[in-house]
């Protein structure tokens, strides 16, 4: 898994590339926590390059969602079919606003 972060004035975009599973979810957690700790609470997760997303990854994402939701929002941009599948199989797809492009996600804030 590789994580690229682009920080803008009002929003940070986290591009996650590869597998988010039990052996990599801690890295994602650390990256998201660092943003939250810096006060970034408007987060876009670009999931277009996510190849695998297991419940460990979902847990990290849900936790970040909770950390953001009082003052901001965590949303999802252009999820890959597999990422979208995982969200829907786990029954948590209703939690996130999903945008078809990064741009639309960023412009929503």
């Amino acid at each position: 898994m590789d994580i690229q972060i682009q920080e803008y004035k009002r929003v940070a975009v986290v591009n996650i590339v590869g597998r988010i599973d039990s052996s990599s979810s801690a890295d994602l957690e650390a990256s998201l926590q660092a943003l939250v700790d810096k006060g970034k609470r408007n987060l876009v997760l670009d999931m277009s390059k996510v190849e695998f997303l297991s419940s460990s990854g979902l847990r990290v994402i849900v936790n970040a969602y909770k950390a953001c939701k009082e003052v901001g929002q965590l949303c999802v941009a252009q999820p890959s079919e597999r990422a979208a599948s995982s969200l829907s199989i786990a029954g948590i797809d209703t939690l996130f606003t999903v945008y078809p492009t990064r741009e639309a996600a960023i412009a929503s804030f």
Partner: protein, 140 residues
Amino acid sequence: MATRRLTIPGRLDQIEAACDCVEAGALEAGFDESTTYACQLAVAEACENIVKHGYGSGQPGDICVEVVASQGQITIRLEDSGPPFNAARRPKQPECDQNDPPVGGLGLVIIHRVMDRVTYLRRSGVNRLTMRKRMPQPSS
């Protein structure tokens, strides 16, 4: 009918190999990409639970993976030597409340959502979890 067998050490970084084995079986069974992915996800969840909850606190051990594929169907069997745990018990789907969404307990939900039949057997200190998935085939 083709059978694949694989034994992996009970470590998180080994689970991907079990996924690959299931992928090969699912493709051979003629599953589409999305059903194949769902099966990989289910086996990843089952293995993760064995590593974290089964072997987590005590003695580490292996996971034996067996994937049997025939046209339109795969059966995945996992064996581990952790403490007894019946993963075939269907969990209740946690409610997805916007204000308090579920942060755990999704692994068993995923397994049971994806698989058609999940059975559990404990024998001679071994947990045996059998998961079956059928996919309607296009009539040829």
